[in-house]
């Protein structure tokens, strides 16, 4: 799977989980924190849906280090294409 495909799927999951972001453009540089409206529970929901979608797991101890959408994509890309 290409990085672009992973990014697009990730964005779709974020929009599905957070309908309040409709109309807001997000990209790899978007900081996924409460500034965007993503609290810790929403983050867990997004990661769990992505894990199910891509059939890989990101260790929970690494979750705190994922600051931007691009870093989420990096984490999944590394494991999907292993």
């Amino acid at each position: 799977m290409t990085r672009q495909e992973i990014l697009e799927k990730t964005k779709k999951v974020v929009y599905d989980c957070m309908p309040e972001l409709k109309g807001v453009e997000i990209d790899e540089d978007s900081v996924i924190n409460t500034d965007m409206g993503m609290d810790s529970m929403n983050f867990i929901l997004v990661v769990c849906k992505l894990e199910a979608l891509f059939d890989v797991k990101i260790p929970e101890r690494q979750w705190n280090k994922l600051s931007t959408l691009g870093e989420v994509v990096d984490a999944f890309e590394k494991r999907i294409n292993k």
Binding site: N33, D39, S40, M41, L45, N64
Partner: protein
Amino acid sequence: MRFSSFRALLEYWAGQTPYAPALLCEGETGPRAVSYRELAAAVERRAEELRQTGKTCLALFADGGEACVVTLFGALRVGMQVVMLSDDLPDAAAGVLLAYTDADMIWSLDGEREAELAPFLTAGVENGRGRLLFFTSGTTERSKAVVLTEQSLCSSAWNGSQMLPLTQADTLLCLLPLGHVFGFVCGLLWGLACGAAVALGRGARHYGDDWDYFRPTAVSVVPALLGFLVKHRLFNRELRCVLIGAGSCPSELIEAAKALGVRVSFGYGLTETSSGVAISTGGDPYAMDVCPDDTVTIAPDGEILIQAPTCMMQGYYKRDADTRAVLVDGVFHTGDLGLLDSDGRVHITGRKKDMLVLPGGTKLFLPEYEARLSAALGTAELAVFLEKNGAPALLLQADPAEEKAVREKLRPLMEELPRGEQIGKIYFTDKPMPRTATGKIRRWEIQKEDGQ
């Protein structure tokens, strides 16, 4: 029943209802029950293994699983001091805490972590029998350890069972981290003290489906988790009781939970009092009845004072001056502001300390947190406050055009913190922070300016 130790609790129920489920865990085809008799026996076996190590102080990375619970009870059974640590604690902070608390043994499901932290182990502790150390907030390397005992925790669980009784037909879902005293007492001990079954939640990934899996009748949650559960309407139809604690909860959220058909109670307590001091049992979730073992009075300046002889901490570990500052002649000065109504019920009205309580239950001690931000950014002209949604935000004297550079400077610090404690929005100002004559930040002016 009132118990003085976990051993007494387990032996009692193993004798009374040996085949009743004590724990429900993840199984191959569905929940797997561990009976009270099986749990008591497993604890004895584990205790013997731990006895043979000759170790005296166990640092437990509490993941909330069956092995964790058995090891915890087993360690206390053989007189070890147990240090309760969050499973997501970064290694750097964990190393500092191991040295501070005199740990000479680590338990974690993560073998790599045990190896990485081995150099921080100490020679152990004398006279640690029956002591559990919990941390006052999110466990950072600067946290204070609160010394509690099996007896104080059992008393706290008894308090809870008197206010909100469970029966042996109940299943209490344990979702919260056992490394925090609210999660430990209200997620685990409350159920065991009543002889109910405690379903050990399968971790954050299963917040959405543990309900269908375990079919609980009761649960303890923090406000952030409640918001998630209500938003996604996750409660199962058997659920009848939700206890909220560890932070203030918006009334609309409580009403939304009630509308789903469950009884909602709100609890007030602190790590220093082994958790619960007052719990709402009537229609108003913010009017809390004081638990039987506790006495609440209000100081002339509005501070809530607590006497709780059976539940009170022994003190802060190796920090006598800090202990003396808050525990005076058996009276604990909470730093919270409140009032007692005509029926003697407690209402919380605010905070006296420079502290924020986040929706996830974690406390942010502002002077310490802001000092770390200042060190990262090279300026003291900043302040942290909570937005209406409970997210920590930063007010900074700087040019808004520098936001990207500011976030980069903050990144190493943010990566050390759980997501709920990380700075969300950054507000920029061209003015210095408003301060008192003694240099303290006038926080109320900041909140006012933000329109909150």
